[in-house]
């Protein structure tokens, strides 16, 4: 099953999520050391370090790969620090994979780590009237949850979804998260608690929206040949799709204040988020019917339902049925967010998409413990961030 565009997941590691008062470098080091140990390689074996940047931690955050390399001890390996909003971790994996496929490195360490203040994300300081992220806050007070509220209300209007449907997603993910030692929130939650939590941005209540969090995740990727030699080639990244939208965008994605006009252009048949997963499927020849599990960016419970349809687990409008039938719960046919998802982790921006791949790897190796998906052979991880970012990663057993 070796393919020219596959790379092997040699090892994975995480630092438990949640604010523990440490620096992002310390969180990242713990994850990196765990991934190196899991991979059975030493720091000296690493030929490239790719770091997901964090934009709220001073200069070391902008040069995350350098900060981590110095902390592990300078050993000469090239570094690449990258940023792609919520898709940062997938971007980092994509850069690592490109170097391996190019033959420029056999062993690459990919790390994402963050510390996050409580409350709403806010734009960086200064008066920035040419920055859409500044404008949306300054003129509309349109926080991330406000955009999520627009999408959730739209889904309710279009699909007839209810607040109770959304709450059922939270109940499902909290149950999975309660079984995951890396999750920040490990208590089960019932629907009533969700529906009684404070309204943040109608129709989304506090427990329908993912929190922000500290956290870190790391992956060691290797060339097929290197991994085979080390007998560590069980799990492969089969595709990474990190495309951008196609003009005209039919939805007002955040942080923008309007969609594109369709008067002068015909939109594609797929939305941007649909195209993320489908372009990954096409690249590797797998499809939604081949998936045993999925990790999707549940920035809100409503958005998890959107993803079911967008990644092809069901037809448009059938996500609620899939959910209520238990198909996407642990023990179902295709569990979604068996890790507990963002719902249980909170979001640590550059770490989250890497954590999704850690989860898929543990699942595909049968190492996921209490939240194991039995016999899993293939999974997809998807995410979306502001400014046109998003990615899908297909991971499969060899």
């Amino acid at each position: 099953m070796s393919r020219p565009d596959s790379v092997a997941v040699l090892g994975v590691g995480m630092h438990p999520w949640g604010n523990q008062g440490k620096s992002f470098v310390e969180y990242g080091l713990v994850a990196a050391r765990a991934a190196l140990a899991d991979a059975g390689v030493t720091w000296r074996d690493v030929q490239l370090v790719v770091g997901g940047e964090t934009i709220r931690n001073g200069y070391p955050g902008f040069v995350a790969a350098s900060a981590l390399s110095q902390a592990l001890g300078w050993q000469g390996a090239p570094v690449a620090s990258c940023y792609a909003a919520c898709a940062t971790g997938a971007q980092a994996l994509s850069t690592a994979r490109a170097h391996i496929l190019a033959g420029l490195a056999d062993v690459v360490l990919v790390v994402g780590a963050d510390t996050t203040p409580k409350g709403f994300f806010a734009p960086v300081g200064g008066d920035r009237p040419d920055d859409p992220d500044w404008l949306r806050f300054r003129l509309l007070g349109a926080t991330n949850p406000a955009y999520f509220g627009l999408y959730a209300r739209r889904r309710m209007a279009l699909r007839g979804s209810t607040e109770a449907d959304f709450a059922a997603v939270k109940v499902k993910n909290a149950r999975a998260g309660s079984l995951n030692p890396y999750a920040r929130f490990r208590a089960e939650v019932d629907a009533e608690t969700v529906l009684n939590s404070p309204m943040v941005s109608d129709p989304l209540r506090l427990l329908q929206i993912c929190a922000t969090s500290d956290g870190a995740a790391a992956v060691v990727l290797a060339s097929e040949e290197y991994a085979r030699r080390r007998n560590r080639d069980a799990v492969r990244i089969r595709a990474v799709s990190a495309i951008t939208p196609e003009y005209p965008r039919t939805v007002p994605d955040f942080p923008y204040l309007a969609s594109d006009s369709m008067a002068a252009g015909v939109p594609g048949t797929r939305t941007f988020r649909e195209s993320l997963a489908w372009s990954a499927y096409e690249a590797c020849g797998l499809g939604p019917e081949d998936l045993d599990l999925a990790e999707v960016y549940d920035l809100t419970t409503a958005m998890e339902l959107d993803w079911y349809e967008e990644i092809g687990l069901c037809e448009p409008g059938e996500a609620e049925k899939l959910l209520h039938d238990g198909v996407t719960a642990l023990g179902g046919r295709v569990p979604v967010n068996p890790s507990g998802g963002l719902s249980s982790f909170g979001e640590a921006i550059p770490a989250q998409a890497i954590a999704q791949v850690c989860e898929l790897t543990w699942q595909l190796r049968g190492d996921a413990g209490a939240h194991q998906v039995q016999g899993a052979r293939a999974g997809v991880a998807v995410n979306q961030g502001l400014f046109g970012h998003g990615a899908a990663v297909v991971v499969a057993r060899a």
């Binding site: 003129l139 509309l140 349109a142």
Partner: protein, 148 residues
């Protein structure tokens, strides 16, 4: 502005209030007609197949249908203005689809309209709105409001 309220920061070219009322102004590519709202601050066209650099001013439709809505129950972080000596009041946000332009434009909903007054699909009108800066100064913005 006719009533002397200056445009909010960054919005100098975004709307005008004249004899024909209050309108949002998009940029319109002089070659392919592609619209941009807000108007692009830099030369060029949002259409990837168009190399043109020039844009003209294009007034947008002032009515549309409500594509979706939400509200803000907690005070947004800065730079959202926090006027002195005032309590924060929740306000609604609307995404309104303009039929002619086939385009969805976000905006705050007029402050006397609650989220419970809104329904997806309902007709909405553009109206002038006011934001009060953290220094207590009134600033002109645009609002959406259910059609009378």
């Amino acid at each position: 502005m006719t009533d002397g309220i200056p445009a909010a920061p960054g919005t100098d070219t975004w709307f005008r209030e004249g004899p024909d009322g209050f309108v949002l102004l998009a940029g319109r590519c002089t070659a392919c007609g592609a619209l941009s709202f807000p108007p692009r601050p830099i030369p060029g066209c949002p259409n990837p197949d168009c190399d043109a650099l020039e844009q003209s001013v294009h007034p947008l439709s002032t009515t549309g249908s409500l594509w979706s809505y939400t509200d803000a129950r907690y005070v947004p972080p800065p730079p959202y203005p926090r006027p002195p000596d005032t309590e924060f009041s929740p306000y609604a946000l609307a995404a309104v689809e303009l039929a002619a332009e086939q385009m969805i434009v976000l905006g705050q909903v007029a402050p006397d309209v609650a989220v419970s007054d809104l329904t997806v699909g309902m007709p909405m009108d553009l109206v002038p709105g006011v934001l009060v800066s953290s220094a207590g100064v009134e600033e002109r913005v645009w609002n959406w409001r259910p059609s009378a």
